[in-house]
Symmetry: C2
Subunit: 333 residues, 2 copies
């Protein structure tokens, strides 16, 4: 009897210790951190009027600029640009055609001036026309050797430690965490499990169709096609959430105008809903852009005044990288 008592006491003490541990150690104390903790408590405490049954606990995260660095250029765009030589090798006629000619020139200044239409041509040429398996293998290979220009580290190391803590904290409390990205669904799925602990089936992103066919060996395979099925940005985010998840999230995290509708849609649900917006205002440790610099919405990842105002009005929480995050990257001291 005494032994059982000792064992039980040990278990209770251990639980108490686990509970007392700070689930968000890379966050500074303050109302932002508190908003996350209070949301989790309100939705997981059975006696709370805002309790959410485990099956309905869905949290969605934008990726670029919310979970990892997206400045000055999205990793996926870098991938596509760096794939161009290989594509031109198999289709030499492209070398003389824009925008491939500019990319092949290696002139970074000229490349920075490419239009959205040019970029779309590059995306179509580098992301489609191969089997799903070939594409996955190419992305994996690239991720291993590619380094970002500032920290000289693999892109997969540029995830924000405070957001990784939020992902784990939500999952430990029964939330299913999803990435809902304007980036390519197939691209992000290659590394989402390893980098964020999010399995491929929980990645919603911009997606093209595939075509089922048979190889010379008679084995079936899927070829990636340029046909766009889901443009997972702006209104496409709640539409994509409905298509792929079928439930309204209880928590959503974004950083740019492309996340506006996802945050609105989440916040418009009944009960406790958490909508958070990462503000890039840390020029020293990461980047400062958007209202922190008084810039209009002109560049990738910017965050215009109108979005900031909507956040304040609709009760979203703005995360200041500078003030709310104690550490930004896991490898920082």
């Amino acid at each position: 009897m005494l032994l059982i008592w000792v064992l039980l006491t040990g278990i209770i003490l251990t639980s108490a210790i686990v509970y007392a541990q700070d689930p968000l150690p890379s966050w500074n104390e303050g109302p932002t951190k508190q908003a996350i903790i209070e949301f989790v408590k309100a939705t997981t405490d059975q006696s709370s009027p805002k309790f959410v049954p485990p099956a309905e606990r869905i949290a969605t995260f934008d990726q670029d600029g919310t979970l990892w660095v997206s400045h000055p250029m999205y990793a996926q765009v870098m991938y596509c640009l760096e794939r161009v030589p290989a594509v031109v090798k198999t289709k030499p006629e492209l070398a003389k055609v824009e925008p491939f000619k500019t990319v092949m020139s290696g002139n970074r200044e000229a490349m920075a001036k490419l239009s959205m239409k040019d970029l779309e041509k590059i995306l179509a040429a580098t992301l489609t026309g191969m089997s799903v398996e070939e594409f996955n293998a190419e992305v994996k290979k690239w991720l291993e050797k590619a380094r970002d220009p500032r920290w000289k580290r693999p892109y997969t190391e540029l995830t924000y430690l405070p957001m990784q803590e939020v992902l784990k904290y939500l999952r430990a409390n029964g939330y299913k965490t999803y990435i809902v990205t304007g980036g390519g669904q197939d691209f992000v799925r290659v590394y989402s499990e390893q980098v964020y602990g999010i399995p491929p089936e929980q990645v919603v992103g911009t997606a093209g169709g595939t075509k089922y066919g048979y190889g010379k060996d008679g084995k079936p395979f899927l070829t990636k096609e340029p046909r766009l099925l889901l443009n997972d940005d702006n209104a496409g985010k709640p539409e994509g959430i409905h298509l792929m998840i079928g439930r309204r999230p209880y928590a959503a995290f974004g950083n740019s105008p492309g996340d506006r509708q996802m945050l609105e849609y989440t916040k418009a649900g009944s009960g406790a809903r958490l909508a958070m917006l990462v503000l890039h205002d840390d020029a020293k440790r990461e980047y400062a852009y958007g209202p922190a610099l008084g810039l209009p919405n002109t560049k990738v990842g910017t965050f215009p005044q109108a979005l900031y105002d909507q956040a304040k009005k609709q009760g979203w929480t703005v995360i200041s990288m500078k003030n709310d995050w104690k550490r930004i990257f896991a490898w920082e001291q």
Copy 2:
């Protein structure tokens, strides 16, 4: 020490008892049941060369004719036909237009002769043009009162008990179970959790687009549109699996030519893969159609000789309802 020993022994004995319980009590002993059990053992035993890590354990199930009765007419088609009067009430001009005129006449013989094109018009009129929430509420209401013509029971009670056992058995062994249906994704999601224990985010089906907009109160909502995003049948099944799951299943279950590509695709993966085909050969307890009656592929749910031959050739397992299933429905004695 003795006490710990007693406790541990208790735990071990309990595990042994659980293990010894038959996970598939509604299946007759034989090679079909054995194929399922051997597949689960081979893919979950860490020492097996065919071990599959838990994160990759995906099993996909067709619904109509595989998990529940689809004969003589799909439940969803019944829903759409029965919704027509309500649609005509809001749009009286439809009453004079085919195929709505025929449906409004109530003439079952004439309705049975409607073409696929007619049916598509009825589906578009009854499944789209309302908000996602309105649609869910309508389906829920219908399911409560609708009864199938033969057993006079709610459609949701016409699921096959042996397949429910397979779903649970796979889940108990770390498999994520998905429905991959030619039926409407939004339709099946309304009841999948309650009926099969499968959450809406694990239902892949024929899906239309939605449109994000704002109500008079300024609140955002999604409207169901007739624009087809995914025709989740035939080649659309592996394409839908790639879109929505992003991994090749280890096990797949179907019953008709619309499942051929899903089964092929599953079976073409490396390691242990299970492909199963439900054969409706039980005229007494359910229905007999397809090769059991020597019929060609002419009706809903039929199963032509060519599919049977492919199953034999590619190592799929054919499930005979008549011989392999001890019980068909949970409410049967």
